[in-house]
């Protein structure tokens, strides 16, 4: 859909998924940080934080299924396909634009269109987060809910330890992604433009 330089990029199901995901992950980060701060020094009561973390984790997991199914049955998945051509060159060019070019009159190298919803760098990050980090954090999260299922030892190192460290390290990486994601969203026609799109679904070219 296209009207007056506007593209209907974000269908309703995607906006619902994005909204739930955003709230869920913010919840997970706050409660996760609180638990990481220690059992007694945490700013949310420990058992409250654990319960909130578990519930948010399950909500985000179910919501992730919505994302997967939505991408399977609609053609939204095509935006996530990484092509081997210019595998490194294209995202590097985009990074160069963000770091240097945009301050020196360079035009965005990969303007968004009906065929291109994400710029190459953005696409790489989304693929890594949504198809690598999120599945692993979901798996390790459920493993920690049922710790008796985890291998007792992996090469003499406690399986629970590896699972817990992997889970929270990925949590940290996703938190960093979220900060960058929100900041980069403010680079648009105007700083608030992209945030309006989250609600309306329309993107200004």
């Amino acid at each position: 859909m296209n009207s007056n330089n506007k593209l209907y990029f974000y269908p309703l199901w995607l906006r619902i998924w994005h909204g739930i995901n955003a709230l869920g992950i913010i919840m997970l980060i706050i409660t996760g940080l609180s638990m990481n701060a220690g059992v007694e020094s945490s700013f949310i009561k420990f058992n409250v934080a654990v319960n909130m973390h578990n519930i948010s984790g399950i909500v985000v997991t179910l919501n992730y299924l919505l994302f997967l199914i939505g991408n399977i049955i609609t053609d939204n998945s095509k935006f996530y396909i990484v092509k081997p051509k210019g595998f490194l060159k294209r995202p590097m060019k985009q990074a160069y634009y963000y770091i240097w070019g945009m301050f020196h009159g360079m035009k965005a190298p990969y303007p968004l269109s009906e065929k291109r919803k994400f710029n190459p760098l953005q696409k790489y990050f989304y693929v890594l987060v949504m198809y690598l980090a999120v599945p692993i954090i979901i798996l390790t999260g459920f493993a920690l809910l049922f710790p008796e299922l985890i291998f007792e030892k992996i090469y003499n190192i406690s399986g629970v330890l590896i699972t817990a460290v992997l889970h929270s390290a990925l949590g940290f990486i996703i938190s960093v992604f979220l900060i960058i994601h929100i900041y980069v969203s403010s680079i648009g026609k105007s700083p608030l433009e992209n945030f309006k799109s989250i609600i309306t679904g329309w993107h200004h070219i």
Binding site: G38, V39, M102, P147, E148, A164, V165, Y183
Partner: protein, 256 residues
């Protein structure tokens, strides 16, 4: 024959006193059978009769254990009737916490010493005259009860921690038991004072593997179990934060 009078000879041969003959400790008259009934009343040596001041077993610190034990609820309530052998069978005891490389094996062996009475109606009543406490119900408050029972010794929460001893024998009453998660799940975990401290030291001495050097905080939650990851995460976070501030600053200047 009374089954309590039959000794598990295999277990005996695996135990610490395996090199002894029965008559080294018991009356020589036991060498005839049937044994005389009054032999049951023979005075037997206590652990300290042999081990106090004994250089060969000095590393086990029997005298220090005795001092700690005298403060324990077992001694306070039952006095001299509560002998070492009530928990440590002189026939089959193995110093498993020192010899085993498996925490779970140590935990099981040690906990069975407690559970032999505390989870056995007959044995408990015989000593105390009261019905035995319901172990599972009492510990209902403990999250992941099964996991804790398999991996943590009863004594980790039920004794006062004494740094110099592997196991403090001052087993305290239930009102003094540790009920706080943070006492174990924190950087200065009380577990380190006993079992895991020993395990870590032993392992590091054996293989010096990187994991043991990097991580001695296994009972802290998440990445902070590994101190270096904590530092790296702070560096990444501040780098990202600084990057955003600088980028935002130049965007603002550029706009004007």
């Amino acid at each position: 024959m009374n089954p309590y009078y039959i000794l598990d000879t295999v277990a005996m041969r695996q135990g610490v006193h395996n090199q002894f003959d029965c008559t080294d400790c018991h009356s020589y008259e036991y060498s005839t059978y049937p044994h005389k009934a009054e032999l049951k009343l023979e005075p037997l040596a206590t652990c300290l009769d042999c081990h106090a001041g004994d250089e060969a077993t000095a590393k086990y610190q029997f005298e220090k254990i005795d001092v700690e034990f005298k403060k324990s609820i077992h001694y306070q309530v039952y006095g001299e009737n509560f002998t070492c052998s009530k928990c440590h069978s002189q026939h089959t005891y193995r110093p498993i916490a020192r010899t085993s490389a498996q925490v779970t094996e140590i935990v099981k062996f040690d906990n069975n010493m407690c559970l032999a009475c505390h989870n056995d109606m007959k044995e408990y009543k015989l000593m105390s005259g009261r019905n035995n406490p319901q172990i599972r119900q009492i510990h209902d408050w403990l999250p992941n009860q099964e996991l804790h029972f398999d991996n943590v010794r009863c004594i980790e929460c039920h004794t006062e921690v004494v740094d110099g001893l592997m196991v403090s024998h001052n087993i305290e009453g239930r009102d003094k038991a540790s009920l706080k998660c943070a006492e174990c799940h924190s950087t200065n975990s009380r577990l380190k004072a006993s079992l895991y401290k020993y395990q870590n030291l032993q392992k590091r001495a054996q293989d010096g593997s990187l994991k043991n050097v990097l991580s001695n905080e296994s009972y802290v939650i998440g990445t902070h179990q590994i101190p270096i990851l904590k530092i790296i995460s702070y560096i990444i976070f501040f780098a990202v934060f600084a990057g955003i501030v600088v980028h935002g600053f130049f965007r603002m200047i550029n706009k004007k």
